[in-house]
């Protein structure tokens, strides 16, 4: 996620460079493609609204975008809190897009489902590290944690994720 610190990209460039990492980050956290599309749309809409005030000298555009993405995901969870009283099966059905079963890449689908077995903190850290393509140091700086703490959580989360995948296999 390292970029030239002071050159301000145009919005199309920002979108093309960061769509995939932002989308991956969001999907790690929200767990399904339809919700990820919704949240990512909100992220880039907000980014466009605020793009005029973005100052490249104050931080990389990626870090700026991930700040917006993180707030958008939190807003998404807040807005969906009312679903908590519904039975799990209904929520699962509401989460999954109708054509989910048709998604060709079973690898991605399997990972996505297994990620639901992690807790919020583990998902957030894997989301930043693997979805957002950040180093442990960048994740730590983004979340205000120690780098070694992030390393420990990554390690533990990978073990749990592997267990989830094996269980589902």
């Amino acid at each position: 996620m390292s970029e030239h610190p002071s050159r301000r990209p145009d919005f199309a460039e920002l979108y093309d460079r960061h769509f995939a990492p932002v989308y991956n980050y969001v999907l790690y956290r929200v767990g399904d493609a339809a919700a990820a599309d919704e949240v990512v749309s909100r992220v880039f809409e907000r980014a466009l609204d605020r793009f005029g005030g973005y100052d490249a000298r104050r931080g990389e555009p990626g870090a700026w975008l991930f700040g917006i993405a993180r707030n958008a995901v939190n807003d998404h969870f807040r807005a969906r809190r009312w679903l908590a009283w519904l039975p799990d099966e209904l929520v699962e059905r509401a989460d999954a897009p109708a054509s989910d079963a048709l998604v060709a890449d079973e690898e991605r689908r399997g990972l996505r489902l297994a990620l639901r077995g992690l807790d919020a903190r583990e998902r957030e850290i894997l989301a930043l590290k693997f979805g957002g393509e950040m180093t442990n140091r960048q994740v730590a700086s983004h979340l205000g944690l120690g780098e070694s703490h992030v390393g420990v959580i990554v390690h533990r989360a990978l073990k749990r994720l592997r267990a989830e995948l094996e269980e589902r296999a």
Binding site: F11, A12, F44, V103, D105, I153
Partner: protein, 140 residues
């Protein structure tokens, strides 16, 4: 348990590789349409965030001139009270001792009030007139 890639056991390392390779954005159904929509919006002339404030200021400026004129006229207009016979009580002041009490007289055509001040008579008269009398100058 540092979390560094080289410290992971082989299975976790393989899983980390899988995660790094996995690009979920291939599942997005909005990537292209969102891009087109946002870039079109970015090209459209944008409303200044100050626009509402400027509009309000312009409206206020438009209202100030007639409002000021109205207030000045209202402030300058003397306030009349109604007297005993429904006649307006004029805000005249006769602070000289020479001013006698006004005399109200009923006339054949109306009513008049006469003040005698320092030997001069000041008359306020109301009477019915015809349209022809409107511009006739009468001298007493």
């Amino acid at each position: 348990m540092s979390g560094r890639f080289e410290d992971l056991d082989p299975d976790d390392r393989e899983l980390a590789r899988r995660l790094s390779r996995a690009d979920f954005s291939a599942d997005s159904r909005v990537r292209e349409s969102l891009r087109a929509r946002l870039l079109a919006r970015g090209r459209a002339p944008r409303r200044s965030p100050l626009a509402p404030a400027l509009t309000a200021a312009a409206l206020a400026a438009l209202l100030v001139v007639p409002l000021r004129t109205f207030l000045l006229r209202t402030a300058a207009r003397p306030r009349y009270a109604r007297g005993e016979h429904g006649l307006p009580v004029l805000p005249g002041r006769f602070d000289s001792d020479a001013a006698g009490a006004p005399v109200v007289e009923e006339t054949a055509t109306g009513r008049r009030v006469v003040w005698n001040v320092d030997g001069d008579s000041y008359i306020l008269e109301s009477r019915r007139i015809t349209a022809d009398e409107l511009f006739v100058v009468r001298r007493h």
